[in-house]
């Protein structure tokens, strides 16, 4: 005890930072060392906080995001000043767009050098001001602990997001006297609650609706409101759908759940929203990929919008009723207010919506070649229900989102708002560090995989049992699809026919790999992939012309879908 107190009395700023991270319940951080952040890495030596060394700072921030998405905890990433810090930028914005709790820590040149264009100096707080909830240069070691605690609190919410702390190297080296004054608790803030009048108005709208549809977004995951949302759906038997970030929040077995909404959403979901007379939007922000032109979104519907962030109300689509508050509490109050009320069954409407749908449209025969949709579809059929799936960005992401039926909102990780290629593999790495031993699968395309494949070394170093399903169509497929459909088939800079031998690359990193190129080999290959106890790459050589269907062309309303011939 005495020794511990003496140690605490001699803590450097760097040690204060690490202890504060640990005290916030974070057990693993992702990073890459460099000059200005060296004091922190020195303090890490022997510290109980686990550090995961990635091979590029961008992977650190994506991995931290993946960890946060899969665990619900704050993801923490560390990089040095200058180029290390600027390599964080895309991942920070990715977290901002999807409301992911993240604390990014960057080294900075010493306070005396700041502003002199010192070696590896970047004004990272100015650079990230627009893409963080808050950022701060901590210039005094005494401010470290309060800054860390504020950063974690802010990252968590009410609406989660990224916070960046820029730590000059001399501040990290400073001996910090033990705090004598207690730090005021910052976690006691009460969350806003929806007004009773708005809850009552929502109940009345539900009671008088004939064709209601509920839409859920990432806010349900952020608020940990999945269970109460499912209770709401048991009480009000209405058709419901999800944005890509809302997948997993609804019970996938619910017969009234229509699957994903949006540009590549299920037909029934898009048509139901277009025909609805009431939209109940829970924790979603009316992204243009979901609404199309806002003035053509659900034109006959009254709209109830529930969100923790009041600046979302009316931002894109006007709302008739705004439920401003913590979503879990809002849904609880809504369920309670519905208790004892006569709620229509909406059976006819549900029946009609079901008739609007049908299976996902497919391309015509692929003449014996391997189809990406078959590969992804069969993968989901074989995966354990608790598996975590991380996708990269592009066609495979949409095929996966259409076919995934995650049982939990933290089981499907994808870069939704920003659509960041290179996200999937490091995000899967981050998810693999979440306790619980859930299987982790990365579904990646050949484009995005090549933006992140250095992280195979990270997988190997930590012996992570991440399964990689590489959908290789030797194209930047989504761009190629748009060029085919909307740019007169002028295929500019999308051909990747000179892709490397991916299996050989995996082997070079010490990772088992297998390639499949014909449909009849798929089942066996997937079986071996899932059964393999450690990391493995399954290279799916798919035919390149396959498109994502349906697709809503840019500028069109959501019901104006293009469909392939069945």
């Amino acid at each position: 005890m005495i020794a511990e107190r003496a140690e605490r009395a001699q803590r450097t700023g760097a040690r204060v930072v690490l202890d504060a991270i640990w005290a916030e319940g974070v057990e693993v951080i992702f990073g890459y060392p460099g000059g200005a952040i060296m004091p922190l890495y020195d303090a890490l030596f022997g510290h109980r906080l686990r550090h995961v060394l990635v091979r590029h700072e961008a992977a650190a921030v994506f991995a931290a995001g993946g960890y946060a998405r899969a665990s619900g905890k704050v993801g923490v990433c560390v990089a040095t000043s200058g180029p290390g810090a600027t390599n964080f930028v895309t991942g920070i914005l990715d977290a901002m767009m999807d409301s992911i709790p993240l604390v990014a820590i960057t080294g900075q040149v010493s306070t005396a050098l700041m502003g002199t264009d010192g070696f590896q100096e970047a004004d990272i707080t100015a650079i990230t001001h627009a893409i963080t909830k808050r950022n701060l240069v901590v210039r005094n070691a005494r401010e470290l602990l309060p800054a860390l605690r504020t950063a974690f609190r802010l990252a968590r919410g009410p609406r989660p997001g990224p916070v960046l702390l820029d730590l000059p190297t001399d501040v990290l080296k400073t001996i910090v006297p033990e705090h004598s004054a207690p730090i005021r608790s910052l976690d006691s803030r009460t969350l806003p609650r929806a007004s009773p009048a708005a809850v009552t108005a929502t109940v009345e709208l539900i009671r008088s609706a004939r064709q209601p549809v509920a839409i859920i977004g990432g806010g349900v995951r952020a608020a940990d409101a999945s269970a109460v949302y499912r209770r709401f759906c048991e009480r009000v038997r209405l058709p419901h759908t999800a944005t890509i970030n809302g997948l997993g929040a609804a019970d996938p077995q619910d017969e009234h759940f229509l699957g994903m909404l949006g540009m590549h959403g299920w037909k029934a979901a898009n048509l139901a929203v277009a025909q609805a007379d009431l939209i109940l939007a829970f924790g979603m922000r009316f992204d243009d990929r979901v609404t199309g032109p806002p003035n053509r979104f659900a034109p006959g519907a009254q709209i109830v919008h529930a969100d923790i962030d009041s600046s979302e109300f009316g931002k894109i689509v006007r709302a008739d009723v705004c439920l401003h508050g913590d979503l879990r509490e809002t849904l609880r109050e809504l369920v309670a207010a519905l208790d004892g009320q006569r709620i229509p069954t909406f059976d006819d409407w549900c029946e009609r919506v079901r008739a609007l749908g049908g299976p996902l449209p497919r391309d015509r025969s692929q003449s014996g070649r391997l189809s990406a949709t078959d590969a992804i579809g069969e993968l989901f059929e074989r995966l354990a229900p608790d598996a975590i799936v991380a996708t990269d960005v592009g066609q495979h992401q949409m095929w996966a989102a259409q076919r995934a039926r995650p049982a939990h909102p933290r089981n499907f990780l994808t870069s939704a708002g920003l659509g960041t290629m290179g996200f999937g593999l490091p995000a899967a790495i981050g998810a693999a560090f979440v306790p619980g031993g859930r299987p982790v699968v990365a579904i990646v395309g050949d484009g995005g995989f090549q933006m992140s494949l250095a992280e195979l070394a990270t997988i190997r170093r930590y012996d992570l049992p991440v399964k990689i399903v590489l959908i290789d169509n030797r194209n930047l497929g989504m761009v190629r699809q748009w060029q085919q459909l909307f740019y007169d088939a002028r295929y500019s800079a999308t051909n990747l026919s000179d892709n490397p031998e991916f299996c050989e690359i995996a082997h070079a990193y010490g990772i088992r790999a297998e390639s499949v190129g014909v449909p009849e080999d798929l089942a066996g290959a997937l079986k071996r992939l899932i059964a393999h106890p450690s990391a493995m790459l399954l290279h799916c050589a798919c035919y390149p012309e396959e498109n994502v269907w349906p697709i809503v062309p840019a500028g069109q309303a959501m019901h104006e879908m293009m469909e392939a011939e069945r």
Partner: protein
């Protein structure tokens, strides 16, 4: 539209100027007076009414979060 508010983090004025530009609005006058560790910000904004309304919501959010995080 004239927005006037108090914040501890004076950089919020810079953020607001960037947001106005992004929303297709312009600022015709901006000032920040520091007193007792906080800034009294006053900014004159012009632009389409819908954009100004969105900007107003962002101003309220930035000011509210600043107040919550700098008690």
């Amino acid at each position: 539209m004239i927005a006037a508010f108090n914040v501890r983090d004076g950089r919020i004025l810079a953020r607001l100027i960037h947001l106005a530009h992004r929303f297709g609005c312009v600022y015709t006058r901006a000032e920040a007076l520091q007193r007792d560790g906080s800034f009294r910000v006053r900014i004159h904004l012009d632009g389409p009414s819908e954009a100004l309304a969105r900007l107003r919501m962002q101003i309220d959010k930035l000011a509210r979060e600043d107040k919550e995080n700098n008690p």
